[in-house]
């Protein structure tokens, strides 16, 4: 089962994206926990692209595909933002006490924690990021 959505580089699109993920999850009969985790990953990654991916003020489109086959769910995100593999960022130290905690960097840490594998490719003007989650 596969489904795609194209959104604009606007944080307001996150609501529509969440509806798309919920709808796919229901049709593919995914566990609620997995639907929550897919929502989380897309929210984190798309928020990053929209917030930091563009050097102009133009409208851009981002294409998101969800695919489920046997016990693997995959996400593919294609954007034409600046060349950037978010998954290479150093994770924050989540053991530090409150006063030393940094406010940033948690999003990618969450993504890497809930997904099993990932691939990044720069293809011409596009970033292509694929993430995989094994069910069970």
């Amino acid at each position: 089962m596969v489904s795609s959505i194209t959104i604009q580089n606007d944080l307001k699109e996150l609501t529509r994206l969440a509806e798309f993920v919920d709808c796919f999850g229901e049709q593919a009969e995914l566990p609620l926990k997995v639907i929550f985790e897919l929502n989380l990953c897309l929210d984190e990654l798309i928020t990053n692209v929209v917030s930091y991916g563009y050097t102009d003020q133009e409208i851009h489109t981002i294409e998101i595909t969800i695919h489920k086959e046997s016990d693997i769910v995959s996400l593919k995100i294609i954007d034409d933002g600046i060349s950037f593999n978010p998954l290479t960022k150093t994770p924050p130290d989540t053991t530090l006490p409150l006063e030393e905690r940094q406010l940033g960097g948690l999003g990618i840490h969450l993504v890497k924690s809930v997904m099993s594998d990932y691939e990044y490719q720069r293809d011409g003007v596009n970033n292509i990021l694929k993430l995989f989650k094994r069910l069970n």
Partner: protein, 111 residues
Amino acid sequence: MEWTEKKISEIVVVSVNGRLDGATSPVFDQGLQILLNAGEHKIVFDITQLEYISSAGLRVFLNTAKKVQKSGKVVLFGIKPHIREVLSIAGFDTIFSIAESEEDAIAVFQN
């Protein structure tokens, strides 16, 4: 995302529902700044009705806790299992006081 605030003695209980994501969290953060600027520093977050949280929402809790840490505290209660997982991955279960009910959350300030 919507929230309500109520004051019990010196403690403010903020009940937030819906989604705390990249789009809604900045609005919530601005609302909390008004409380903090008014001098509130004993904050209980009731997240019984919170359906979803991303790192943007976590940052709001972290930012609030950092701002009140000298004189006050942040306590959370009503955590759904999938939200507990996110708090745990982020290591927030070690830096926040977590209570089981509003009564327990308020009792944290009285100890």
